[in-house]
Structures are given as C-alpha cells and as structure tokens.
C-alpha cells in the first residue's frame, strides 16, 4: 500500500511538469502585452520597455520558463504584478475558500446524490424512482447561473433569510454561523449538477449490485431487505462510486468560476479569470499549478480510498 502511494506520488512529477509547461506556453502565446495591461492606456513606449525589462519579458521564452520553474521548486511563485503582492500570499488566501466551498458542495452532493440513488434503485420503477429521476434530470439541466440568481432573489432579496454574497458579513461579521449562512447558497448552486450525476450513477451501480449473486444469497439467508440494501449492496456500491466522487470533487474545485463571481466568493476560480484578463502571468501559472495539484491529489486520494475499500483491487 505504501509503495503504491509512493509510486503514485512520483507519477505526479511529470504530470505537474507537463501542466506547468502547457500553462506557461498558453500564457506566453496569448495576445496582449502584460506591461501594457499594468500601465494601462497612458503608457509611453519608454515606460513599457522598462517595465517589460523589469518583468523579464525580454528574455527568451525557454529561459523565462526555467527561471520560473527554478523559483517554483524553491517555493517562490513570484510576484503578481496586477495585485502588487507575492503570488503565494494571494493563493494562500484564496485556496481556503475554494476548498471550503468545494468540500461543502461535495458533502451535499454525496449525501443527497447517493441517498437519491439508493432510494431510487430500491424502489425501481415505482413512483419514488420516477420522482427522483425527474428531479435529477432537472438538477443536471438547470443552468447554474440561473439557479444561483433565483436562489439569491428568493432567499436574500425577498425573504432576507440569507446574505446575497461574500464569505462573511461585511460589517461586524465573522464567526461560524455567519460563515455557514454565507456558504449555503453558493454550495447548493454548485452542488446541484454533481448531485444529479452522482444520483444517476449510484442508482445504476446500486441496481447492478442488487442483481449480483451475493445479494440473492443474502436474501436467501433471510436477511431483511434493509440489511441487504445497506450492509451489503450499499457498501459495495460505495467502493465503485469513490473514483466518480473523486472526479466530481475535481470538477467542483475547478468549476466554480461563475458561482464564485455571482456570490462574490473569494476563491481561486474568480482569481484565475481576473488574472487571465489582466495578463498576470505569474498568478495564472501559480494558480493553475496549485489547482492542478489539488485535482491530481484529490483523485489520488480517491484511488487510495478505493484501494482500501475494495479488496478485489488490492489483490491486483
């Protein structure tokens, strides 16, 4: 098991190197001059030239890449020119909210999605199944931004139950309750699609488990339907679902750009969009590297978990 984890960790190195290279190249090839983006429309050619020089943009591409890579290996992601602060500091502040939002959305979608999947499978072709299937379809097809605005309108503007945006109240806020109040609407908006996906897949997986011999065996032994469902079939289905959940976690991590914008959630998604439009090269490179690492690590975690849960894989 340890050897497996170590091997997987070592595999990360070429993956991250590849990601760094691709991101670096894309940013370098994008039209638009970072120096102009900083100095704005008033820039004179002299000030542009001197800033380009200062930013190291006059160096050849390959040298810029290796200088950056060398610094990254020493834990220095450089300085964001648009924000006038170290990239590490900026990401350090932003990764927390993104992880929190993704984790909350993941928790919601796992509980609701798997729950719906199991119930639907257990009541296959009956009204429960049909209602849930309908809801799941709705969840997958409702546009995220529309749902987000609708939630804001109903719960914040009309009912005043929950705040519109932000992570904490802007004046005299703070504390866990305040945070949870702010977290609820964005987490729901973000979780809807993942919930639908997990519900559909877990229903299928559950049905497959229920058709297996061991289930027939368990029923023949005289176990109650409850025991069959939750003690046997569910646990096996969970093992199958873990990698899917890992993938969804990855999507939730990287896919929250619009939700972060509407709810003014101070996370990485919004940071990246802003950084790209202001040609903040180092911030984009650093941000993508961190998100990609998180994505890869989450999937690694899922694989390890599945490994631990499913003896059949362990034996392979």
């Amino acid at each position: 098991m340890n050897g497996y984890i170590l091997r997987r960790l070592l595999q990360l190195i070429p993956v991250l190197f590849g990601i760094s290279l691709v991101v670096f190249l894309i940013m370098a090839l994008l039209p638009g001059d970072p120096a102009l983006a900083i100095l704005g429309p008033y820039a004179t050619p002299e000030s542009l030239a001197s800033l380009r020089n200062e930013l190291g943009l006059e160096e050849p591409l390959w040298r810029r890449f290796f200088i950056w890579l060398g610094n990254v290996l020493q834990g220095d992601l450089g300085r964001s020119v648009a924000l006038q602060r170290p990239v590490v500091e900026e990401i350090g502040e932003r990764i927390g909210p993104t992880l929190l939002l993704a984790a909350a959305a993941l928790a919601l979608s796992v509980v609701l999605g798997l729950g719906a999947g199991v119930v639907a499978a257990a009541h296959r072709r009956r009204w429960q199944d049909q209602v849930l299937t309908f809801l799941v379809l709705l969840g997958i097809s409702v546009p995220q931004f529309w749902l987000a605005l609708l939630l804001i309108l109903v719960f914040a503007v009309w009912l005043h139950w929950l705040p519109v945006s932000g992570m904490f109240s802007v004046y005299a806020g703070g504390g866990l309750i305040d945070l949870l109040q702010h977290l609820l609407l964005p987490a729901i908006s973000l979780a809807v699609v993942a919930t639908g996906v997990l519900a559909r897949l877990s229903r299928g997986a559950m049905l497959e488990e229920l058709s297996q011999d061991y289930v027939r065996m368990a029923r023949a032994k005289g176990l109650t339907e409850r025991q069959v469902l939750y003690k046997h079939a569910f646990l096996n289905m969970l093992g199958r679902m873990v990698p899917v959940i890992g993938l969804q976690a990855g999507f939730l991590l990287g896919g929250a750009v619009y939700i972060e914008t509407v709810f003014q959630w101070p996370g990485m998604g919004r940071m990246l969009v802003d950084a790209i439009s202001s040609r903040d090269l180092l911030l984009v490179q650093g941000g993508v590297l961190v998100l990609a690492s998180a994505y890869v690590l989450v999937n690694l975690l899922a694989d390890v978990l599945q490994h631990a849960l499913d003896p059949r894989i362990r034996r392979r």
Partner: protein
C-alpha cells in the same frame, strides 16, 4: 472569456430582477440593513489594485483614495476647477514657470507625522526622480502629468516652490487629480513597496484594514483639520458581478453603488426605495479615423461619417441614457473651456451620402473598424460598433468590425491605424481640457513618436492652439483658445464624436448629502443616513 460569462446570463438575470421589482413593496424602508446608521457600505466594481494614489490608475481605486488623501489643491465641488486644499494659496511667477504654494500649518498625516513642505518635496521626488530611494515603490504610470516639473523645493517649513521647464497651465488640475494627492513619507519609508496596502494620508477618513475581496475599511479621522466626517465607518466592497451589485442593494447589503448597467438603472429609477444620481463627466467616446490613407484621408468622408451616425439613438437606445451626445473634442464638463455654440453633427444620412458622392465614393465602400470587447470607459463597445455599422451601411459604407480583448486592442490602436484599419473606437477620461488634444490630436503625438494620435491628424493651427493653451495661465484666454480648437477640429473631423459618459450611482433613499462629482470621484465626508 470574461465577457461571455458576463453576458450569457444577462437576459435571464434581467427577467429575474424585473420579477423581483414587482414583488417588492414601495416607500423608503429598505429591509435587511442591520448596520448602525453611521456605517456606510459602498459597492465598488472591482477589487482595488493599490491605495497608493501615485500607483493607481483606475477610478475604482481613486474613489477610495480621495477620501483618504488630499492634494495641494482639489476640484471645487460640482466642478473641475481647482481650489485650495492643503495649500492655503499659491502664487505664479510672471514668466509662468514658477508656482509657489503656501501650505496649511495645522495638518498631520494619519500616522501622526506633520504635513509640511518637505513632505511635498518627498512626494514629487519619489514620483519623478528615478534616483530617489523610494522611486522603486512605483511604477507611477501617471507621473507624466508632472513631466514639465523640473524641481520641487521646500523654501521653508510651509512654503514649497515648483519650477517648470516651461509654462504649463494644466499643472493645477493635475495637482487636483489623485496623482497629486499627498502620501505620508514616513509611511512610505516604513512599508516600502507594500505602502499601497498600508496607506496614510491627511484626509477626512483614515485607513483601518484591507481584507482582500471582502472589504476596505476606513474610519473617521477625528483629528481632521477641516470639518470632521459624518460617517464613522466607510466600507468599500468589491462586487464584480453587476447582478450581484444590484441584488446587494435590493437586499439592503449596501448603501451606495456605482456604475450600474443601463437596464438596472431604469429598473431602480421607478423604485421609491432608491435614488438614482447621474453626472456627465469629462469623458469622450469617439471613433479615430485614419486620416493618412484610405477613404478617411478625405475630410468630406470623415464628415460624412459624423453625419451618418445617429448619436441620439445610440445614447438613448444602446446606452439607455447613460451618456450624452458629444459635439466635439472637448467634453462639456469642462465648462470654462467648452464652446456652448458648437452643435453635435446632426443625424443627416442624406447629407452624408452627398458628401460621399462629392468625394467620389458613390458605390459601396468597405471600411474596417477595430473595437474592444470591453475596456475602461468604453461603455458598450461591441453593441455600439454594431449600431454604427448599421448607420454607416445606410449611406453606403460597409463596416467590417474586428473585436479584440482590451489590452490587445490598445496594443493595436496605439501603434497607429495605418495598415490595420480605417476606424477604431476609443474613449478617454481626462481632468484638464489640455490632456486629450495634447496626447491625441497634435501632429507631434503621432504613434511613431509614442503619442496617441493614432489617426495621424495634422493641422498646424490646432498644434499651435494646443501649445499656446497649455502655456497660457490666464484661464479666460485659455478657454478662448480651446473654443477655437473645438471649432477647427469639429470641422476637420479627424474623429467621429459620439458620446460623453454619464456616470451613475444609486443610493438607498435613506442616504442624504450625496452628490456625484464631474471628476467621478466619490466624496463621502458629508454623506449620512436618515
């Protein structure tokens, strides 16, 4: 990417908000506002970049800075005319090359240090002198406002002299601009390049904290030399998404919000719980025409474009009255320099067609127009390009629109239009009538020389007028020169003059004492909630 994200949900969101408006009650009772009355929350359009006023270039940052800092002079409320601030008065030498400022003696920075002549010296040395030990705390993109300043010297503790290379009339308005605000030398020395996040000025509010993406918090400066501010606390919130800004306002999360979209303004205008404020600023939205080659090298064709564009329809339909029609190269907000007798080119397609025929362009002609997808002061660049395309098609000019991301667009336009396009959209917001003509209409400001005259306009008389006006310190005389310039440039039509942006802000009906300024700054000292 950003544009698509912003636009896609707009129609949905619009629908949702109309529904919202229908369901909400009348009368001045904004619910959801659970803050003390002396706390004002302001919804901004973006996260600030820097609270160092010499580093900042965006209005979004200036709106905070002008409450933290003061300059030697400031714009008198409701105008763009400089009046004394940290300088009690000033004297100008006869040759127009030496300004002597006599400073107030009762002013301290928020960090407790004294504001005096040596502080002024430090500020301008840091800005202008590349060898200054704190010049590296820049870059200072707008330092060119003071490039005629050769030397700034403290004569005694409260007298400071500015020596100019030549007479330079815009100096005072440039000093009233945020680039002329006075920062605390002690704070700059202490925080170095992080000063922009730990600002200290002399203004009616002092800095408390900056929590990125959540808020910038200022509090009343109890030791302020002038009248002490009425709000105890100002909270500036970055709310990037326009829908979120409106939703926060409607939910009672903010008291004042700036730069709402036209749709939202018309929605809130009819709602008694809110007040819409509007103010036309020193802004000009125009098309640069390539006067060097192609069809627009003929003045008649350029005039034809000006006649063909239906500016009133643009302003009323596309921009939904968030702008006014512009008549010439000097925005109306510069009252003393503006020629009231100048009329905008009327919308006259017939006249345009006959001018085109005269110029030998009877058939259909294809012209290329560069437009950005968005950008500072550009209003609705893509929709406006489409509307202009429609107007010009009517007179026989087929416009091919090419859109670019803002920075790419600037890079292209600033190189000059020749070989790239016949027209380009552009917008400027300035603080002195000199700035735009000097940077973008002088023949010496051609792109080859690093200027912004991307359409290569050349008129010797206009060049002379610009040079004379910036050297003339008598304001009436300057005004006369600018009025002549406006008439000439309007006639030559190197640009198609389109619109001046009318800034908007919406407050809840409880907010009192609030007024927008022509400078677009947000002065909050006397604002309060009832």
């Amino acid at each position: 990417m950003r544009k698509r994200l912003d636009n896609m949900p707009a129609s949905f969101a619009w629908l949702v908000l109309i529904l919202g408006a229908l369901f909400t009650a009348a009368a001045c009772t904004p619910e959801g506002d659970r803050r003390p009355d002396d706390v004002l929350v302001i919804g901004q359009t973006a996260e600030p970049k820097s609270l160092d006023p010499h580093v900042a270039t965006s209005l979004n940052d200036f709106r905070i800075s002008v409450n933290l800092y003061e300059g030697l002079v400031r714009f008198r409320e409701g105008t763009l005319e400089p009046e004394p601030a940290l300088a009690r008065r000033w004297e100008l030498s006869d040759d127009g090359r030496q300004y002597t400022f006599f400073l107030r003696e009762d002013v301290r920075f928020h960090d407790g240090t004294v504001f005096d002549a040596s502080a002024v010296e430090f500020n301008f040395e840091r800005l202008l002198n590349e060898d200054h030990p704190y010049h590296h705390t820049g870059p200072f993109p707008l330092a060119f406002f003071f490039d005629k300043v050769e030397n700034v010297q403290a004569i005694d503790a409260y007298t400071v002299v500015f020596e100019l290379a030549e007479p330079f009339a815009p100096l005072l308005s440039n000093l009233a601009y945020p680039t002329g605000l006075m920062v605390s030398p002690a704070a700059v020395r202490r925080y170095g390049i992080d000063y922009g996040r730990r600002p200290a000025g002399t203004g009616p509010f002092r800095f408390v904290e900056w929590q990125p993406r959540r808020r910038v918090l200022l509090e009343r400066n109890p030791d302020y030399w002038g009248e002490v501010a009425r709000p105890r606390v100002l909270v500036f919130r970055p709310l990037i998404d326009p829908m979120t800004r409106v939703a926060e306002l409607m939910a009672g999360g903010i008291d004042i919000v700036t730069e709402l979209s036209p749709d939202n303004v018309s929605l809130l205008r009819s709602d008694p719980r809110f007040r819409v404020h509007e103010q036309t600023g020193p802004h000009l939205w125009f098309l640069i025409l390539n006067t060097r080659s192609g069809p627009f090298s003929d003045r008649r064709v350029r005039q034809a474009v000006n006649y063909a564009i239906d500016k009133r329809a643009l302003v009323e339909n596309v921009l939904q009255r968030t702008a006014t029609v512009a008549a010439g190269p000097v925005p109306k907000a510069f009252g003393w320099a503006y020629d009231e007798r100048i009329e905008p080119y009327p919308h006259d397609p017939e006249r345009a067609r006959s001018l085109l025929r005269e110029a030998g362009l009877g058939g259909r002609v294809t012209v290329r127009l560069l437009a950005p997808t968005s950008g500072s002061g550009m209003l609705a660049p893509v929709q406006m390009a489409a509307a202009i395309q429609g107007d010009l098609a009517e007179v026989g000019l087929d416009v091919r629109i090419e859109t670019y991301e803002w920075n790419t667009f600037l890079g292209k336009v600033n190189q000059g239009l020749d070989g790239q396009a016949d027209m380009a959209e552009m917008a400027w917001m300035t603080n002195d009538p000199d700035t735009l003509p000097y940077l973008a209409l002088r023949s010496a400001a051609a792109p080859e020389n690093g200027g912004f005259n991307s359409g290569y306009y050349e008129n010797a008389r206009v060049d002379t007028l610009i040079e004379q006006a910036r050297m003339t310190t008598d304001r009436d005389e300057r005004g006369r020169l600018y009025r002549e310039l406006q008439r000439l440039v309007r006639e030559d039509a190197p640009w198609a003059f389109v619109a001046s942006w009318r800034q908007n802000a919406v407050t809840t009906c409880r907010v009192k004492g609030f007024a927008l300024q022509p400078s677009f700054f947000l002065l909050l000292r006397d604002v309060h909630k009832s």
